[in-house]
Point group: C2
Chain length 230, copies 2
């Protein structure tokens, strides 16, 4: 059969035969209920996110998110820090588990541990986190409470690449929400969570699509400065 | 003529006779073009802000905003720092000028000087500033450039009470704007300025209306916790 070599993608493997796309295997790290994990599962099942979750890893056996994952037919694993001599050993084991499952992109979803160098080195610019504030405002724990106590009128959610600086990596997507006069930590957190569930799958898709780079401390869409301004 | 004393405001002085309301005399401090001064002038002339500008003070003779003020029939004054032996002396002179003009609320509108204790003491919780970022992110100079270089997806404008902490006082109002992929300092600044011009008059009216308090570092609307949740 003759192939028209003028068609630029004539020799491309048809996508429907490519059952395991090379760059869309996610590893999701959790510590708790995994509501952001659920939003990723939902986005995949609804066709909004073209990816598969290769493994869900928790540092806690009792993380409710592990059950969510099992119910969705996703392989799970619990790596307990106390089974390792130190933080680096733990992070090496975590990186090895993710690599064994051929994970391309690691998504932190309420993973309550600092990410150390062994994991950062194994997945450079391939580690995403979501944080419940408009970073750089209110990094660290209890971001919603920090925002309320500061008295801001807007807060939000941030998806960012993970670096060694706590909540300080390049920002992929953000969403802003108003802070209302009678908000409590609970009502503000709920309003932010709606946005977290919206932007996390969107940011993952954006990362998987490629055509981005990190310039200085900025996440820049478009392969080059030329295409950005086209 | 009989007066129906059951009407609660039967004895109230009619507002149209109250040509100089006690709490609505503004002093506006500028250093440059005074675009926020213009937004205050416009809001007053359009009836969106129930106040009068008693005096516009600049620390620079060449501030274009002085001309705007004169064109609107507003008294202006230039206080040059070099005419005073130091910062405190300058701030005392500034406070005296504002008090002479019976100013109740001082609005910084691009006033490029740190406000010192003599002015803060003369107008406690009666000094407002507007800043082109969503504070606490990006305080200080060049806030729009800081936001672009950090790579945030949202920035905005903040009206806050002035305290001795630079850009750190209680937040009265904020507005959020998106940062676009191809924004420059100019395009982002222009988008933020639209919001500055909207929220500054609104925040001034809110201050003049009363029924607010400062609790800790927060600006809280409603006279008491009870009325807030009513």
């Amino acid at each position: 059969m003759a192939v028209d070599s003028r068609r630029p993608d004539a020799n491309k493997v048809p996508e429907e035969n490519d059952s395991r796309p090379r760059f869309s295997r996610l590893g999701v790290l959790i510590s708790g209920r995994g509501s952001n994990l659920q939003s990723i599962i939902d986005a995949i099942s609804q066709g909004r996110l073209d990816a598969q979750i290769a493994i869900v890893v928790s540092n806690r056996e009792d993380a409710a998110g592990l059950q969510r994952a099992r119910e969705a037919g996703i392989e799970t694993m619990c790596l307990k820090p106390r089974d390792y001599p130190g933080r680096d050993a733990y992070d090496r084991a975590l990186a090895a588990a993710l690599e064994t499952h051929r994970v391309n992109l690691v998504c932190l979803a309420g993973f309550m541990r600092l990410v150390g160098l062994p994991l950062l080195a194994a997945f450079p610019n391939r580690l995403l986190n979501i944080h419940p504030s408009l970073l750089p405002a209110f990094p660290g724990l209890d971001a919603q409470r920090q925002a309320l106590e500061y008295g801001v009128r807007f807060s939000g959610a941030t998806v960012h690449l993970v670096t060694s600086e706590l909540d300080g990596g390049p920002i992929v997507l953000q969403a802003a929400v108003p802070v209302l006069e009678d908000d409590t930590v609970q009502t503000l957190s709920a309003r932010i969570l709606v946005e977290e569930h919206r932007i996390y799958p969107e940011a993952i898709q954006l990362l998987l699509d490629g055509d981005w780079s990190v310039q200085g401390r900025r996440f820049v869409r478009g392969a080059s400065p030329h295409s950005r301004r086209a």
